[in-house]
Amino acid sequence: MDEQKSYYVIDPEGKLTCHKCGVPLVKANAVFGYLDNAFPVELPVCPKCGFVYVPEDLALGKVLSVEKVLEDK
């Protein structure tokens, strides 16, 4: 898989705060995994505790459609 390619990019700048740590979420690399496949993405992550936020539109959009494709592999 192309490591450079990112399947989703979101800029959390000033929109999201980690409720536990009280710090703003930052853009960071993450990997979605399903049925032994991996997809690099950029997601809002807490720089302190590492909480990764998956927004609803991503979960029901891109993530769901990729899930469906893989389910028929």
Binding site: L16, H19, Y34, L35, D36, F51, V54, E56, E71
Partner: protein
């Protein structure tokens, strides 16, 4: 039992069927068999299509069909002995006549436009051909050979083209004669008129060509042996000729076509018997439903049909085809294909090792209802094929868990947390056990409660109860291991009660439980006991829907009708009822795999329905109500316990748990104290609607919020002030958006995904 996700990197396949097994299934479907008229034609002219085009008034397209089928189509149309008309199925309807296909052909030749443009320029073949003597067969052979691009010479005794044509086709009328004459002149044949066709002449000329065909007369002059009955080839004389029995116009065309095939083989230095394929007329195995056909007579042909007359005659054709299965099955309608093709696609889909399995959705959305097995005149069993494919996919790790996970966990829930199996208080062993089924407990717990009380009161010998799922979900999902596990659990429960007779309230349960004990429908019990006190006696008009689980079970179908009659129901039946009833969309877990297909099943089952829809399966009751119909299970009627609008997925689970607790408390004095939540948890209506659509349970949301209380992990949306948190349960990550105050939480949205997520 837990379910783990599969890997798409494990490459395994298992053959679904052997070649023979596949062929045995496919050959049952006669949808692609030719129409009876077509099969009767040795030229295999698609008369059904020709008739369809004529009925639409497209004479030119119909004419083109005819001209593709044979040269000198005018002569064919004028003289054909038309076995097609005799074989037309309309003849079998009393007072009805077969379609006059040759008359349509004549009209077609007259009213259709001739195709213009000769198509591609074709190169002449190297091998040459000669034809000797005038008869219809040789005339058509010459045209066939020229059409195949052999440089063709034609030696005849007649002085000119007119003489040749009147010799070959003396039956032609004036218009046909001149049209045929034009065609003859336009053909690329070198005709030598006025030849003296003696033995010496023919023998000497023949040697100048690679291929030769002769008339019967010339054959006699050559003193040759009779030609072979199939290839029409005379070995000794090395000529093609029609056999002695080959009389008639149609036969001349058919023989000419066969001679043309032989000529091609000979030109390639092969035996003319080589790979000829199927030739000639055949018996069609097609099935056509004639029940709706009204008798009609052929339009009289006075000279020739006008375009209007031809259309009227052609419109009498019913376009014979077998559509028995697809008429009643929304699944087939959705995929737009017939069982033979569907079977092949399923077979191929299962055989794919790597790559996209485009047909998984179809395999998983058949209701497994076996309606097709009844509606098909040959008993085609799509359900067996789809279920075998599912089992195969499970066995090879190709079945995605996502498709059936919710249903499978629902079964585990019914037979775990919500399971109850007890003998009636005061009885060691019981004569009977009531098995209402998981859906009854979920949708209509009050009716189940009252029914059980009634059975205890009026049946002697003890009536135990089992609240649980019969296991059909795992069976439908192709997960036989879980199915067997469930059967063992139920068998043990029955054993502990002293092997009672099982009273079922669902035909599907009855089917699944057969083999574990003697089953009797609750309707049978109520018929022999009589209706309970207070049961209604004037329910009025209802539409009765047979359950697909009761297919082939005439006894149950009759018992329910009898019970409905006693309740004062005036029953009407949908078009497809009894053994032919469709599935409501609940069967085969279709609703979990492909909600949109299941919805079409529900709509088809409800087509034209109004008023009260009476069912005897809770699955049907639930789906019809969800589709907006007023539906009721017969037990709700008997016990006056209408369950109203159907509960959501979480409420169904709560209903089952609550029914269990109520029974334990009131019959066995066991109070299972429910620990109240130590915090407030509200779910808004909007969140609830989303959860229903996204198959998220209240208990999932509860787990997420509990996890939040422990971990404190959440994200704050600065602009909305909402918090978002998540928790992974099994193979799914659930997310909740919520507000928080000192008393607890209000969840405003919920969603989920199956993917895992890691930071790098």
């Amino acid at each position: 039992m837990d379910f783990t996700e599969r890997s798409t990197r494990a490459y395994r396949t298992k053959m679904l069927y052997t070649k023979e097994e596949l062929a045995a299934r496919e050959s049952l479907c006669v949808h692609e068999q030719p129409a009876f008229c077509t099969a009767a034609c040795p030229l295999r002219l698609d008369a059904r299509e020709l008739t369809r085009l004529t009925a639409e008034g497209d004479f030119s397209a119909a004419r083109a069909m005819l001209e593709r089928a044979a040269p000198f189509a005018r002569i064919l149309a004028a003289g054909c002995e038309h076995p097609c008309t005799e074989k037309c199925r309309l003849n079998e309807v009393p007072g009805c006549e077969g379609v006059n296909i040759p008359a349509l052909e004549r009209a077609t030749m007259r009213h259709g436009q001739k195709r213009t443009g000769r198509g591609l320029l074709r190169f002449k073949k190297k091998k040459t051909a000669a034809v000797f003597g005038a008869e219809l067969f040789t005339l058509v052979v010459a045209a066939e050979l020229a059409g195949k691009s052999y440089p063709t010479a034609f030696y005849v005794a007649e002085p000119d083209a007119e003489g040749l044509l009147s010799r070959c086709a003396p039956f032609l009328g004036e218009e046909d004669f001149s049209a045929a004459l034009d065609e003859l002149k336009s053909l690329d044949i070198a005709v030598s008129y006025g030849c003296e066709l003696t033995r010496e002449f023919i023998a000497a000329e023949r040697e100048k060509y690679d291929l030769a065909a002769v008339s019967r007369e010339c054959l006699a002059a050559l003193d040759a042996w009779e030609p072979d009955g199939v290839t029409l080839y005379c070995e000794g004389a090395r000529v093609l000729a029609r056999p002695r029995d080959g009389e008639g116009v149609l036969r001349a065309f058919y023989d000419a076509r066969r001679a043309g095939v032989s000529a091609d083989r000979l030109a390639q230095g092969m035996s003319p018997a080589n790979s000829r394929g199927e030739e000639g007329a055949m018996e069609s195995r097609l099935y056509t439903d004639l029940s709706a056909v009204k008798p009609s007579q052929s339009v009289q042909e006075n000279g020739a049909y006008t375009p209007e007359e031809a259309q009227t005659e052609a419109q009498r054709c019913i376009q014979c085809e077998c559509v028995e299965c697809i008429k009643g099955c929304a699944w087939m309608q959705h995929y737009g294909k017939f069982p033979r093709v569907l079977t092949r696609e399923i077979y191929n889909n299962v055989g794919i090792i790597m790559g996209d399995h485009m047909f998984n959705g179809a395999i998983n959305s058949c209701a497994l209802c076996k309606q097709c097995t009844v509606t098909c005149p040959n008993g085609y069993d799509m359900a067996e094929i789809c279920l075998s494919a599912r089992r195969n996919m499970v066995a090879t790790g190709k079945m995605s868990l996502a498709v059936h996970e919710f249903a499978l966990y629902d079964q585990l829930f019914s037979n775990g947390e919500a399971f109850l199996a007890r003998a009636q208080p005061g009885f060691e062993s019981c004569e009977y056990v009531f098995f209402p089924g998981c859906q009854a407990g979920a949708d209509a717990p009050e009716a189940v409660w009252r029914c059980y009380a009634d059975l205890r009161a009026r049946l002697g010998g003890g009536v135990g109860i089992i609240l649980g799922c019969c296991g059909i979900m795992s069976h439908w999902a192709g997960r036989e291991e879980l199915y067997e596990e469930t059967r063992a659990q139920l068998a043990a429960a029955l054993e502990a009660m002293g092997r009672p007779k099982i009273i079922t309230a669902c035909p599907t349960c009855a089917g699944a439980l057969s083999g574990l004990g003697e089953c009797v429908g609750v309707w049978d019990v109520l018929l022999s006991l009589g209706l309970p006190e207070g049961a209604p006696s004037a329910c009025g008009a209802v539409t009765l829907h047979d359950a697909c689980g009761a297919r082939g079970d005439g006894h149950t179908q009759r018992a329910v009708r009898e019970l409905a009659a006693r309740l004062g129901c005036e029953v009407t039946e949908p078009e497809y009822s009894g053994d032919r009833a469709p599935c409501c969309g609940y069967g085969g877990l279709a609703g979990y795999a492909k909600p949109e297909v299941a919805k079409e099943m529900t709509e088809l089952a409800l087509r034209g329905a109004s008023g009260v829809q009476l069912t005897y399966c809770m699955g049907c009751r639930d789906r019809y109500a969800r589709a907006g119909a007023e539906s009721v299970h017969i037990l709700e009627l008997v016990y006056g316990a209408g369950a109203g609008s159907p509960p959501g997925i979480s409420e169904k689970r709560r209903n089952r748990l609550e029914l269990r607790r109520r029974l334990l408390r009131e019959l066995w004095g066991e109070d299972e104290m429910q620990k109240p939540l130590d915090f407030r948890l509200d779910i808004t209506d909007e969140a609830r609607a989303l959860m229903e659509e996204r198959m998220i349970l209240d208990t999932d949301v509860l787990s997420v919020m509990r996890h939040y209380r422990e971990s404190g992990e959440a994200v704050l949306e600065n602009d909305t002030g909402l918090l978002v948190t998540r928790h992974r349960i099994g193979n799914v990550t659930f997310w909740c958006k919520f507000t928080e105050d000192e008393s607890g939480y209000t969840v405003v949205r919920a969603y989920s995904h199956r993917m895992t997520i890691e930071t790098r």
